[in-house]
Amino acid sequence: MESVLSLQGIVKKYHNHIAVNNISFEVEKGTIFGLLGPNGAGKTSLIRIITRITAADEGTILINGEKLHGLHPEKIGYMPEERGLYKKMKVGEQLIYLAQLKGLPYREAKQKLTAWMKKFDILSWWDKKISDLSKGMQQKVQFIATVVHEPALIILDEPFSGLDPINANLIKDEIFALKEKGTSILFSTHRMEQVEEICEKIILVNKGHKILDGNVQEIKQSFKENLFSVKYQGILDVTAPQTTGYTIMENKNNTLMLKLDSDTSPNMLLKKLMENGLEILHFNEVLPSLNDIFIKQVEQNNE
């Protein structure tokens, strides 16, 4: 699959510390890529390098296979974590200005912005000042400013912070719609439940280093601990001989949490449980959440 963004061996040093240490990853066309890490991990430094706000000390960045250059920012839409708009400017004027800075001609900018604002049902705000809008409303305006020039790559830094569930869903739907149209999205966050829901691939960074990367499902598989959850009817006899080959971690409300020994397969477990006289209602493998993996990995890394 072709990469929209490709980072190879990026290093960024500040005078007393290394913010980014040899990081490489690829964002493929039409995918949502998660850039994860705790605060101060180097996420913002990386994003600033991609948006050409700062330059890397070492490494190469390719956008659509070309080395990053001065015109590329027009192909990128960036929504920083710290949102900012001119408070005293009117919504419409401001959006047109920001779109023009991204290289859109006036007429086209106006047309596209009108369409976006209609979509978000905020066309009536065109002549309102930013300072008269609520924080959530400003967020919508900021989102439109990020995507209006139809960039190939959209970088969202904590896009849902400060949004109520309704607006968060609205933005989420738009992100998926953009992805369907072939836009690539680099999604930076430390909120893991969102990542699991949205991202296909991730990279986890801490203190400037890459800790792990790959497909979200594959990562979860590789960190699985043979845990299974079983919902049953009947009485479990723990003294029966069939209780070997697994350990019971928890038994609550007719739901078992079991850890299988390495030589026991799920089918063998099911058989044993059934032989034990249990009626199995529900059976599934429990994969670790990204949150658990994240915390574990970061803690290990910090040691």
């Binding site: 005078h15 600033r48 948006t51 050409r52 706000i53 700062t54 330059a55 000390d57 001065g70 920012p73 027009e74 990128i76 960036y78 929504m79 920083p80 710290e82 949102r83 900012g84 708009l85 001119y86 408070k87 005293k88 400017m89 200005y97 920001l98 023009q100 800075l101 991204k102 900021q142 400013a145």
Partner: protein, 437 residues
């Protein structure tokens, strides 16, 4: 380049269409006009209450006539003092002026008595003294048998008339005065404009940093483009405002003269009781001044002054932008950092004032060729027709230095705008200069 233009446009329009801008631009000249009208009013009116004063002239030197201020009405009486005191008690008069004995022709001093329990205003006393003085003078002239014209011819007005040897320009005694006034006004105006709009650039940079839009902006444009666009936009606002004032202030003065009938031009130097001759003299002078103004080499002065303004404005406002980028929210911090920018500016304006008095002093000459100072000092010297080589050295050095300063400011700016929570010191700013991108 087109992005710099976009930024310039926004900076310009968002300011010019702002209500505060429109109000201050229109109200300032109006304020000036009201100030001058009030001033004219104050200067023209003293006490307006009519005061009756009875004059007992025992000497006859007044010849039954005394004229001073309009509100003082003099009546002459030969009655003895005690009868006049009765009049005073009946409040028919506010006081009694008595010339009891004739002045001694050989004495400079002459005493006149004024009887009253109330004091006259200082202005009124002066004008009565002056009026009596004139009469006494006539009396003395007659007594000594002297001719007024001979006395007048004793006072000589000496004028040094400059003549050029090689230069073709026709220099008169007024040239220096007119050049000084023009130079002084230009110098002060430049100082004021650079300071006013330079600090606006600073505030605008701080605003972008505080409301965090900066990160969105510089992911679209280079910090340097943003800074230049801002400097240019604010500069154009300055030109617009000054342009409006240049048109508005004289027309308001003209209107004011028409409507209120106050001769505003006469306010600053009003001859107390101008003889017809003096008025003629003044008109003559105005014509001479106008001729002098016409005689100045405006084709050289105007464009050069504009160039100096632009260079000076760019150099200083780039520095202001750098400071704005470094401080963020704390305006106090900004004040200490702007000190080094203010110092050359203040020095320049003072050297400019001294250059008005001595345009060829070595201080003025060297300062007008020193970058940062020259953007104010050289325009002050321009009406005095400085040698071309000095202008060239001054311009070249200023251009080079301005480019250097703008470059330096850009380096500080690009780091400063993304730096939060770090206290900016000069040492820190120095380090930013050498940061890699």
């Amino acid at each position: 380049m087109s992005k710099i233009w976009l930024i310039t446009q926004r900076e310009y329009l968002s300011r010019v269409l702002n209500k505060t801008f429109i109000l201050t631009t229109l109200l300032t000249p109006l304020g000036f006009m009201i100030f001058f009208i009030v001033l004219g009013f104050i200067m023209n009116t003293g006490s307006d209450k009519v005061k009756n004063i009875v004059v007992a002239d025992r000497t006859g030197i007044l010849e039954g006539e005394l004229k001073s201020r309009d509100n003082l009405v003099f009546t002459f009486s030969d009655s003895p003092l005690d009868q006049l005191f009765l009049k005073y008690e009946k409040q028919e008069v506010v006081g009694i002026l008595e010339l009891s004995s004739a002045p001694d022709t050989m004495q400079k001093k002459y005493n006149v008595q004024y009887y009253s329990d109330d004091q006259l205003g200082i202005d009124e006393i002066f004008s009565i003294e002056k009026a009596i003085g004139k009469k006494v003078r006539n009396f003395k002239l007659k007594a000594q048998n002297l001719d007024e014209n001979i006395i007048a011819s004793l006072d000589t007005e000496v004028t040094i008339e400059p003549k050029t040897i090689k230069k073709e320009k026709n220099i008169t005694s007024l040239t220096t005065i007119v050049s000084s006034v023009i130079g002084g006004i230009v110098g002060y105006a430049l100082f004021f404009i650079i300071l006013l709009y330079g600090s606006q650039v600073m505030r605008s940079v701080m605003e972008e940093k505080i409301n965090r839009i900066i990160e969105v902006l510089i992911s679209s444009v280079k910090p340097f483009e943003l800074m230049m666009g801002k400097v240019m936009g604010v500069g154009l606002v300055g030109l617009t405002q000054i342009g409006i004032w240049i048109i508005l202030i004289p027309s308001l003065f003209f209107l004011g003269t028409l409507i209120f009938g106050i001769d505003l031009n006469a306010v600053p130097t009003m001859p107390a009781s101008g003889a017809a001759e003096e008025v003629l003299n003044q008109q003559d002078k105005i014509i001479q001044v106008l001729a002098e103004l016409k005689g100045l080499n405006w084709w050289k002065i105007l464009p050069l002054t504009l160039i100096y303004f632009f260079l000076g404005y760019f150099a200083y406002s780039a520095l202001f932008a750098a400071v704005g980028s470094a401080v963020g929210e704390d305006i106090n911090e900004a004040q200490s950092l702007t000190m080094p920018i203010m110092l050359p500016l203040i020095f320049a304006v003072y050297i400019g004032f001294s250059a008005v008095q001595a345009p060829d002093s070595s201080l003025a000459v060297y300062a007008s060729m020193t970058p940062l100072l020259s953007s104010i000092v050289m325009p002050v010297r321009l009406p005095f027709d400085p040698p071309v080589w000095q202008i060239i050295i001054s311009l070249v050095s200023l251009i080079i230095f301005t480019i250097f300063l703008v470059w330096m400011a850009g380096r500080i700016y690009r780091v400063g705008i993304l730096m939060y929570g770090k206290k900016a010191s000069f040492k820190e700013l120095g380090k930013w200069l050498f940061y890699k991108d």
